[in-house]
């Protein structure tokens, strides 16, 4: 990451301005051309530094009110196969492998979203059948204590970024 790349990240996480030429507005702040900025953003999307460019939507507002973290105990040799099957489920929004700990044997984590608890439970049962797994548990969230956007490369300027990315 060059210093200019970091500046681009800082600007993009403040949010795209709602003006006719938003990239030009950012580019002129950074002393670069609109064309070069757009090219750089496309490059970030291509190399994966930007996972997605667009709107971050509060999905709780869109009817998906229940979510469960479902943790699974998967034999090591089946991780790839099971991970792919779980990822193919529409209800699964995230699927990660994580390390086991003593007394906590779970190594695969899925976030399951539904319109209510029952939908989450049924989705977990369908996933369990499809993967022939029996060792799992559902952890329903009961409260969101914090949800914020990370401010990258902003160690000295947290305030400015936070102001523009309010916690819901």
């Amino acid at each position: 990451m060059t210093e200019q790349d970091k500046q681009i990240v800082r600007e993009l996480q403040k949010g795209l301005p709602l003006v006719s030429r938003p990239f030009k507005a950012i580019a002129s702040k950074l002393g670069m051309s609109e064309e070069k900025l757009i090219g750089r953003i496309k490059q970030f999307v291509e190399d994966g530094r930007i996972r997605r460019f667009g709107a971050v939507v509060r999905h709780q507002d869109l009817g998906y009110v229940a979510n469960a973290m479902v943790v699974w105990d998967v034999p090591e040799h089946r991780i790839q196969e099971v991970g792919s099957v779980m990822a193919s489920f529409e209800e699964v929004t995230h699927c990660y492998q994580r390390p086991r700990h003593p007394g906590w044997p779970y190594n695969l984590y899925t976030m399951v979203h539904g319109r209510n608890r029952e939908e989450c439970i049924q989705a977990a049962q369908r996933i369990a059948r499809a993967t022939r797994l029996e060792q799992y548990r559902l952890l329903f969230s009961t409260a969101e204590l914090k949800k914020s956007s990370m401010c990258y490369f902003e160690e000295k300027e947290f305030v400015e970024c936070r102001k523009n990315t309010p916690d819901p």
Binding site: L18, V45, G54, V56, M86, C95, Q97, W104
Partner: protein
């Protein structure tokens, strides 16, 4: 207005165009000089109307942010999911400590022995370790499960509204 809040309940009130617009901009936001005009052309409305609708969706909180969603590891950051067992009567105080770190981005209570689940994201591995040490020291809770992702099978962050 797309959203009405009554007695704390959120009622969905998008019109069909808001839905189309939201679906389009969650993953296919145009990377062109005049993106709002291009969205308007696709929807058959003016650039001004696109901007006005986005403004209203932001003010009502449906859109949290418009911009880039970054891959923290590809930017050089280190992060991990953490889990703690916090006695019920200490949840407020412990959450106060945990949430006080800007590097803690999410924190949820869940129904299980490990009931507090939070994510930490820091520019270096050593800073990440420091934060966890400080949380242990300030809360007196020594056991924090650290669960960094070793393999990503899926991350989907957009929702189809239709």
């Amino acid at each position: 207005m797309p959203v009405q809040r009554e007695k704390g309940i959120v009622v969905m009130q998008f019109d069909a165009l808001d839905k189309k617009l939201l679906n389009m901009i969650q993953s296919n936001f145009p990377l062109v000089p005049e993106p709002y005009r291009e969205l308007g052309n696709a929807l058959g409305i003016t650039e001004e109307e696109v901007i006005a609708r986005l403004q209203s969706l932001m003010e009502s909180g449906v859109i949290r942010r418009l911009g880039g969603v970054f891959d923290s590891r590809k930017l050089g950051y280190s992060g991990t999911l953490c889990a703690m067992n916090v006695p019920d009567e200490r949840i407020r105080a412990v959450a106060g400590v945990v949430n006080s770190f800007d590097e803690v981005t999410h924190n949820y209570l869940r129904e299980d022995y490990f009931n507090m689940w939070f994510t930490v994201l820091a520019p270096t591995v050593s800073r990440l370790g420091e934060i966890l040490d400080e949380i242990r020291e300030l809360t007196g809770i020594q056991e924090i499960l650290t669960l960094p992702s070793e393999n990503v099978f899926k991350i989907r962050v957009n929702f189809d509204l239709d």
